[in-house]
C-alpha cells in the first residue's frame, strides 16, 4: 500500500515520512490516513505552472543582499584563518570569477591519521608549501667571499620534518647557478659558480628565499583542527589536484572553496554542489534565511550548460536568444550592431522584449489565452 504513495510523493518527503513514522506507533488505518493527508498536503503545496520562479529567486537573494555586511574578512570558526564572506563572497560566487579571493581547502584524513593530532600535523607538514625563507633564521651576504650565507632555523625544520640533506639537495637542484654547501656550524652557503656582481648577488638572495622546498604549491597555511571527533586540516590556498595525490587524504570528503578547481578535478555536478555549499555558508554566516531551493536554482542555472557560467553580461545573459533582452541589460549598442550584421530575429519569447513593445509577458497570468465561442444574442448590438 505504501508503495502506491511512494510513486506519487517526492522521494525526500517519502523518506522523511517513513523515518518519522518509526518514532510513532500508528495502526494500519492511521497510517493510511496519514499518507492520504500527506499526499493532499503535498499536492496543495506544489508550485503552480506559470509561476515566474526566476524573479522570485532573484528577489530572494536581492533582498537579503541589502542586509549583508561588506566586511571582507571573517573567521571561519577559527581565529587564525581568514576567509572572505558576506556580500563580496556572494558576488564572487555568482560572478563565477576564475580567481577566488581567499581560496581554502578542508582536507579530511583517512582513518589512521584523523584520530591523533600528531598524525594530522605530520600530514599538514606534507601539505604546507615551504620556502627556504621559512627554514632560515637569517640570510646574509658575505661580501668578501661573494656568497650567501643562511642560518637554518632548527625548530621550524623539525616541525616541518625537513632534514639538512633534503634542504641541501632541493636547493642545489632548484638554483642552478650556485653550489650549495653546509659549514660545520650548520650555516648553509650558496656560492655562485662564476664571479658575479654584488647587485646580482642580491637578486640571487631574493630568489633563494623564495625557493620552493617541499609541500604543495599554493597552500600557504595549514591548520589541523578538531571537528566532530576527528582532525581536519584547514588550509589557506587551494590545490586539490596535488592534495588528492596524497595517500593520507580522504578524497571522498575533502573539499575546496574554489569552485573552478572543484569543476576541474571533480566535474560539473560537484561544482554545482560547491556553489550550493558556498552560497549557503555565506547566507548562514550572515544569519539570514533563504530557502535551499533558491540556492539550488541558481546553482542549476549556472551549471546547466555543463560548465560554470556566471551571472554577468558575459555569462548567462550573453546566451539569451533575444537581442532586445541582451541589449536592455548592458552594452546595448554592441548587441544591436552585432544583431544587424547577422540579420538576427527576435521572436519576443521572454519578458523584457514584450515589456518593450507593450505586450503581455509570457509568464503567470500573461501565459494563458482565453478562447471562447460567444453566442450572439438576438437583438444585441455592438457596445
Amino acid at each position: 500500500m505504501i508503495e502506491e504513495y511512494k510513486s506519487q510523493l517526492p522521494l525526500s518527503i517519502f523518506e522523511d515520512a517513513q523515518k518519522e513514522l518509526k518514532n510513532h506507533k500508528l495502526t494500519k488505518k492511521q497510517e493510511k490516513e496519514f499518507f492520504d493527508k500527506l499526499l493532499e498536503s503535498y499536492k496543495s503545496s506544489r508550485i503552480d505552472p506559470g509561476e515566474s520562479i526566476g524573479v522570485i529567486t532573484a528577489e530572494s537573494f536581492g533582498e537579503p543582499g541589502t542586509q549583508m555586511t561588506l566586511n571582507i574578512f571573517h573567521f571561519a570558526g577559527v581565529v587564525e584563518l581568514n576567509v572572505t564572506l558576506g556580500l563580496p563572497r556572494l558576488i564572487e560566487i555568482f560572478d563565477a570569477r576564475k580567481e577566488a579571493s581567499t581560496p581554502s581547502m578542508e582536507i579530511y584524513l583517512d582513518k589512521q591519521y584523523n584520530k591523533d593530532i600528531n598524525a594530522a600535523r605530520k600530514v599538514a607538514a606534507l601539505i604546507k608549501e615551504t620556502k627556504f625563507r621559512e627554514l632560515a633564521q637569517e640570510f646574509s651576504i658575505n661580501i668578501a667571499k661573494l656568497q650567501i650565507e643562511a642560518t637554518p632555523n632548527k625548530k621550524n625544520m623539525r616541525d616541518l620534518r625537513i632534514t639538512d640533506q633534503i634542504l641541501l639537495k632541493t636547493l642545489s637542484e632548484s638554483i642552478k647557478e650556485v653550489s650549495v654547501k653546509q659549514n660545520k656550524d650548520g650555516t648553509i652557503v650558496l656560492k655562485p659558480g662564476k664571479e658575479i656582481e654584488l647587485k646580482d648577488l642580491y637578486k640571487l638572495k631574493e630568489k633563494a628565499k623564495d625557493t620552493f622546498i617541499k609541500g604543495i604549491p599554493g597552500v600557504t597555511q595549514v591548520l589541523p583542527i578538531k571537528q566532530n571527533n576527528e582532525f581536519v586540516i584547514l588550509t589557506s590556498g587551494s590545490n586539490l589536484k596535488e592534495v588528492f595525490k596524497l595517500k593520507e587524504v580522504d578524497k571522498s570528503r575533502s573539499v575546496s572553496n574554489d569552485i573552478f578547481e572543484v569543476l576541474k578535478n571533480l566535474g560539473v555536478e560537484a561544482a554545482r554542489q560547491a556553489i550550493v555549499n558556498e552560497s549557503l555558508k555565506v547566507i548562514q554566516e550572515q544569519g539570514l534565511d533563504v530557502d535551499i531551493r533558491h540556492i539550488l536554482f541558481i546553482a542549476d542555472l549556472m551549471t546547466a550548460s555543463g560548465t560554470i557560467k556566471g551571472i554577468t553580461r558575459s555569462g548567462i545573459t550573453s546566451e539569451k536568444e533575444s537581442v532586445l533582452a541582451r541589449a536592455s541589460f548592458e552594452t546595448p549598442i554592441r548587441h544591436l550592431i552585432d544583431a544587424s550584421l547577422v540579420g538576427e530575429e527576435d521572436e519576443l519569447t521572454s519578458v523584457i522584449e514584450n515589456v518593450i513593445v507593450n505586450q503581455p509577458v509570457p509568464l503567470g497570468t500573461g501565459l494563458p489565452g482565453l478562447i471562447a465561442r460567444i453566442k450572439k444574442l438576438d437583438g444585441m448590438k455592438n457596445g
Binding site: 517526492p10 525526500s12 518527503i13 522523511d16 518519522e20 500508528l26 490516513e33 493527508k37 500527506l38 498536503s41 506544489r46 508550485i47 503552480d48 515566474s52 520562479i53 526566476g54 522570485i56 529567486t57 532573484a58 528577489e59 536581492g62 533582498e63 541589502t66 566586511n71 587564525e80 556580500l87 597555511q221 534565511d289 533563504v290 530557502d291 535551499i292 531551493r293 533558491h294 536554482f297 542549476d300 542555472l301 546547466a304 551571472i311 555569462g315 533575444s322 532586445l324 533582452a325 546595448p332 549598442i333 544591436l336 544587424s340 550584421l341 547577422v342 540579420g343 538576427e344 521572436e347 519576443l348 521572454s350 519578458v351 523584457i352 515589456v355 513593445v357 507593450n358 509570457p362 457596445g383
Partner: protein
C-alpha cells in the same frame, strides 16, 4: 471604441541598403535651412512637414494627420562621397582582411568554403551563438593570408588609423574604394563572413545615403522668449547637410583634391559624431556653450538611455505619491488616502441600465463635491470634462455605454508600493479608505514587507483601470495573499512593537474583571458575544486571547524563552506569547493559522490579535523612563568586579607581551596574538554584563519586558545603557592608530590599555568622555560607510540576477525552463514544492502525524 490591437510576432534586425533608405524615406533633405521668414518649416529642410509635425497647428504632409496621430516619417540626405559608419569599422576591417582586394572572394579555398558552409547549414536557424562563433573563427583565421587562393593576387596588411581611416601598406584606402571592394563580396562568402544575405549586405556598412529620423524624434522646444531651440540631433544633421553641400559644390566646381579631401574628412567627422559623440580620439562635437551634444549612441545607452529609461520602464497615469503615516485602526489590507487624492484619481465605470441612476448622482455632484466624478467618456472615445457648465448637457445625453470616471471610494482597489521594490511584497494591493489629512495611512504591521517606517517615507499608489487588472490585483496581490514569503516560507506580517509587548503581558500576567475583559474584546471588534459566555468573573489574559482563536485550533510551539506554548481546541493553555509565536518572520502561530484556515481568516484573526495587544497594553499601562535603566547596587558592584578582573587580565597579558613570554599563535605575529587575546577578553565583558543583568533584572522592568517579548531591544542594549558600552571594534579589531603608534594624541605612544584602544567603560546613561565619544563616532562612521558602499553593490547584484533569471518559469509539466525552452531543473527545487506554500521549506510531517493520532 474600435481599437485594432496588433500583436508583434518577430522583430528582425538588419542593415539598410541605399535602396531601402530611399524606399522608406519621404523626403530628400537638400538644405540646411530649417524655417522660412514666417517661421514655417522649409521644404527639403530638416524640419520638413513631410517628416512629421511638432507644432499643434500643422498637419503632416505625408499622412495628413495632426501632431498626436502622426508618429513621423523618415527622410534622407544624399552624401557627396561615401562615408564609413563608425560603429562598423571593426567589421569593415575584418571584411577587408578576409577578402581578396582584387576578385572580392573570401581568402579560403573551395574545400574549406564547403566544409564551413556545411557546418553553418547544419546549425539551427536560431542558433546565432554558434554561427557567430564559427564566423569569428573564419575571420580570425584569414587575417594573415597573403595570397588569394582564387585569383592568386597578392594581399597586403590593412590597418586602422585613429577613428575611421583605413590604410593598406601605409597608403590610405578611400571609402569609395572600400565600398567597391565590399560590393564585390558575393554569395556564400557573405554568409561565411558572418553576414546575412537577406537582411544585411557588407557594402551597406559604408553610407552613401544618410537616413534622417523623423522630426517627432527630435522636437524643438520653444523658449519663453519665443526663440526656438533645436534638438541636438537637428543641430548635428544641420552641420552634416551644410558640409555635404559644400563638398558637392567643390566637387562640381572642380576644386583641388586637397580641399575636397579635407571637406570629405570633415563630413566623416560630423557623421561619426552624429552616431557616437563619445569615441576616444574623436573630439566630441559641442554646443556653443561648450557642452557636448547628445547624439544617437548617447540616446540609447546607460541608465538614462532609451532602453532602460523609456522601454524597460514606463510612466503611468492614475498614480499618487505622498508621505505615509501610521494608523493602527485601519485594517492590514487597507490604505488610507486623503480626500484630495481621492478626488483626483478616478475609477472608470461603464453605464448600464441598472447602475445609471446611481452613476448619474456622481455627475450631478461634479468634480468639486466628494464623491463626484471628473470625466465622461462617450462611446466614440470623446472625453468630456465635467464642469458646472457641461453638467446639464452631459446628464441629458447620458445613456448605457458611456463611461464615467468617478472619484475613489472606500473599498476600491489600489496598488501600493514603496521603493526600493526588492521583493514582490514591495507592491501589494490594498483597499481604499478615504480619510482626512494629507498623507497615506498604513497599518504599522504592514511596514515590514514594504520595509517602511514613518520618518518621512513616501509611497506610491496606483489605481488599476480595467476589470482584468482589478481582478488580478485582488486575487493575487492583496495583503492577505502575501502573508507568507516565498523567500523562506515564513510569515512577513505579524504583530510588532507594542502589540507584541501587549500580548506578552496579557498571556503572562494580566487578569481582568469580566466586564473589563468584554469591554476589551468589544473594543477590538470581537462581536461574537456567544464566546463571552464561558468567561468567569475573573478572566486571565490567556482566556481573553483564546476568545479570538478558532475552536478547532491545536498548536504546539516553543517561544523565545524556549518554553512550550500550547493551544488545545482553541484554548491557550500554556506559555507566554512573544515574537516567536505572533511576530513577523517566524511567528509560528500565524504560520499555523495560515496553513489551517487560509488567507482571509488568518488576516482577520491576526488583525484582532494585533489590536488586542495594543489595547491590552493601553489598559495595563506601559512606559519607560530613566529610572528603568538604573541598576541595583549589587549588580553595579558585580559589574565593577568583572571590569576589574578583566583589566587585571589585560594588564597581565600586556606585561607578558613586554617580557616576551607570550606564546604566539601559528602564523600570527606576537602583536597580532596579543591583540586577539585582549579583544577576546574585552568582548567577553559585554556578554558577562548582559548575563549579570539578565539574571538579576526585575521581570517587571519595561525594558526587560520588551526585550523578553521580542518587541524591541535586547539585554545587550540595556547593558549599554545602564552598565557599560563596551569595546568599539573596527573591522574586527580594536581601534588602531590614528596618530603615530597611538589612537589619540593624549595617549602614550605604544599604549595598549583597553581605554586607549576604544573600550568604553561608562554606560550611555552616565555619558561618555570625549575620547570614548570619539571612538564611538569612529565605529559609527565605519558602519555608515559600510551601508553606503553596500547599497550600490547589492543593487547591482540584484539587477544582474533579475535580468538573468527573469524569463525562467515553471512549465505545465513542472519543469523549470528558460525562454529558449532549455530545461534548467526537471522538478523545481527537486521536489516541486512552492516555498510560499510550504512551512519553512518543508511539509510538517510531525504535525500530520499528530493530527492523525490526535495527540
Amino acid at each position: 471604441m474600435a481599437e485594432i490591437s496588433k500583436k508583434i510576432d518577430t522583430i528582425t534586425f538588419g542593415l539598410l541598403s541605399s535602396d531601402d533608405v530611399k524606399r522608406l524615406s519621404h523626403v530628400k533633405v537638400v538644405t540646411p535651412e530649417l524655417y522660412d521668414k514666417e517661421g514655417y518649416p522649409v521644404d527639403g529642410g530638416l524640419m520638413d512637414t513631410r517628416m512629421g509635425v511638432i507644432d499643434p497647428g500643422l498637419t503632416c504632409r505625408t499622412c495628413g494627420e495632426k501632431l498626436k496621430d502622426c508618429s513621423g516619417h523618415f527622410g534622407y540626405i544624399e552624401l557627396a562621397r561615401p562615408i564609413i559608419h563608425v560603429k562598423y569599422i571593426r567589421v569593415i576591417l575584418d571584411l577587408l582582411r578576409s577578402t581578396c582586394k582584387d576578385c572580392g572572394r573570401i581568402l579560403l579555398d573551395d574545400v574549406k568554403i564547403n566544409s564551413h558552409k556545411e557546418y553553418l547549414d547544419s546549425l539551427d536557424k536560431k542558433d546565432i551563438l554558434s554561427r557567430r562563433k564559427r564566423t569569428k573563427l573564419i575571420r580570425d583565421s584569414l587575417k594573415n593570408i597573403r595570397k588569394c587562393p582564387h585569383c592568386k593576387e597578392k594581399q597586403y596588411t590593412i590597418k586602422i588609423e585613429k577613428p575611421t581611416i583605413f590604410t593598406e601598406n601605409d597608403k590610405r584606402i578611400t571609402p569609395i574604394e572600400i565600398k567597391a571592394r565590399l560590393e564585390k563580396i558575393q554569395g556564400v562568402d557573405i554568409e561565411l563572413l558572418g553576414f546575412n544575405n537577406e537582411h544585411s549586405n557588407p557594402s551597406s556598412t559604408i553610407l552613401t545615403l544618410l537616413f534622417i529620423p523623423p522630426v517627432t524624434m527630435r522636437p524643438s522646444i520653444t523658449l519663453e522668449s519665443g526663440e526656438r531651440s533645436e534638438d541636438d540631433l537637428t543641430h548635428k544633421l544641420g552641420d552634416i547637410v551644410r558640409i555635404n553641400q559644400r563638398l558637392f559644390e567643390n566637387i562640381n566646381a572642380g576644386a583641388p583634391e586637397v580641399i575636397v579631401e579635407d571637406l570629405w574628412d570633415l563630413l566623416q567627422y560630423h557623421i561619426t559624431t552624429y552616431y557616437d559623440n563619445t569615441i576616444s580620439d574623436v573630439p566630441p562635437a559641442r554646443h556653443r556653450s561648450g557642452q557636448p551634444l547628445k547624439t544617437l549612441t548617447e540616446r540609447i545607452k546607460s541608465k538614462e538611455g532609451r532602453f532602460r529609461y523609456n522601454l524597460a520602464g514606463k510612466r503611468v497615469n492614475f498614480a499618487a505619491r505622498t508621505v505615509v503615516s501610521p494608523d493602527p485602526e485601519i485594517e492590514f489590507n487597507e490604505v488610507g488616502i486623503p480626500k484630495q487624492v481621492a478626488m483626483d484619481l478616478t475609477v472608470p465605470e461603464r453605464i448600464n441600465q441598472w447602475n445609471m441612476e446611481r452613476l448619474k448622482k456622481f455627475i450631478e455632484r461634479g468634480p468639486k463635491t466628494y464623491p463626484g466624478s471628473n470625466y465622461v467618456v462617450r462611446p466614440d472615445g470623446k472625453k468630456k470634462k465635467i464642469t458646472d457648465e457641461t453638467k446639464e448637457q452631459l446628464l441629458e445625453e447620458l445613456q448605457p455605454g458611456f463611461i464615467i470616471e468617478r472619484h475613489l471610494m472606500d473599498g476600491d482597489v489600489a496598488i501600493f508600493n514603496r521603493q526600493p521594490s526588492l521583493h514582490k511584497m514591495s507592491i501589494m494591493c490594498h483597499k481604499i479608505r478615504v480619510i482626512a489629512g494629507r498623507s497615506f495611512r498604513l497599518n504599522p504591521a504592514v511596514c515590514h514587507p514594504y520595509n517602511a517606517d514613518f520618518d518621512g517615507d513616501e509611497m506610491n499608489l496606483h489605481i488599476p483601470q480595467t476589470e482584468e487588472a482589478r481582478a488580478e490585483a485582488e486575487t493575487l496581490m492583496q495583503v492577505q495573499t502575501q502573508l507568507i514569503s516565498p523567500k523562506h516560507g515564513l510569515n512577513v506580517i505579524g504583530c510588532v512593537e507594542d502589540s507584541v509587548s501587549g500580548n506578552y503581558l496579557l498571556s503572562k500576567q494580566i487578569v481582568l474583571e469580566k466586564d473589563e475583559a468584554i469591554h476589551l474584546l468589544m473594543s477590538i471588534g470581537m462581536e461574537d458575544s456567544s464566546k463571552f459566555k464561558k468567561l468567569k468573573a475573573q478572566v486571565t489574559g490567556k482566556e481573553i486571547f483564546s476568545v479570538l482563536l478558532p475552536k478547532t485550533l491545536n498548536f504546539v510551539s516553543k517561544n523565545r524563552a524556549d518554553e512550550e506554548v500550547v493551544i488545545k481546541d482553541g484554548e491557550l493553555i500554556k506559555g507566554n506569547l512573544d515574537s516567536n509565536i505572533i511576530g513577523e518572520e517566524g511567528g509560528t502561530l500565524i504560520r499555523k493559522l495560515h496553513k489551517d484556515y487560509g488567507d482571509e481568516k488568518t488576516l482577520s484573526i491576526l488583525s484582532m490579535i494585533f489590536k488586542l495587544g495594543i489595547k491590552a497594553l493601553e489598559l495595563y499601562g506601559f512606559s519607560i523612563g530613566i529610572k528603568d535603566i538604573d541598576l541595583e547596587e549589587i549588580i553595579v558592584e558585580k559589574i565593577r568586579q568583572v571590569m576589574n578582573d578583566t583589566n587585571r587580565e589585560v594588564k597581565n597579558l600586556i606585561s607578558k607581551y613586554h617580557d616576551n613570554e607570550l606564546e604566539t599563535m601559528p602564523s600570527k605575529t606576537i602583536e597580532e596574538t596579543l591583540e586577539l587575546m585582549i579583544l577576546q577578553l574585552l568582548n567577553r565583558v559585554r556578554n558577562r554584563v548582559g548575563e549579570l543583568i539578565a539574571d538579576n533584572a526585575n521581570p517587571n522592568n519595561p525594558t526587560i519586558i520588551m526585550a523578553n517579548a521580542g518587541a524591541k531591544g535586547n539585554i545587550l542594549n540595556l547593558g549599554m545603557m545602564s552598565a557599560l558600552v563596551g569595546q568599539q571594534a573596527l573591522r574586527g579589531k580594536r581601534i588602531e592608530k590614528g596618530y603615530d603608534k597611538r589612537t589619540l594624541a593624549l595617549f602614550k605612544q605604544g599604549e595598549l590599555s583597553p581605554k586607549s584602544k576604544g573600550f568604553i567603560e561608562t554606560p550611555f546613561r552616565e555619558g561618555l568622555d570625549p575620547m570614548e565619544f570619539f571612538f564611538g563616532a569612529m565605529t559609527g562612521r565605519d558602519s555608515l560607510m559600510d551601508t553606503a558602499l553596500r547599497t550600490p553593490k547589492s543593487g547591482y547584484l540584484y539587477r544582474r540576477l533579475s535580468n538573468a533569471l527573469q524569463d525562467l518559469k515553471i512549465e505545465y509539466d513542472y519543469t523549470v525552463r528558460d525562454a529558449n525552452k532549455t530545461v534548467i531543473q526537471f522538478k523545481y527545487g527537486e521536489d516541486g514544492i512552492d516555498v510560499a506554500k510550504s512551512e519553512k521549506g518543508t511539509i510538517n510531517i510531525r504535525n500530520l502525524i499528530r493530527e492523525v493520532t490526535g495527540k
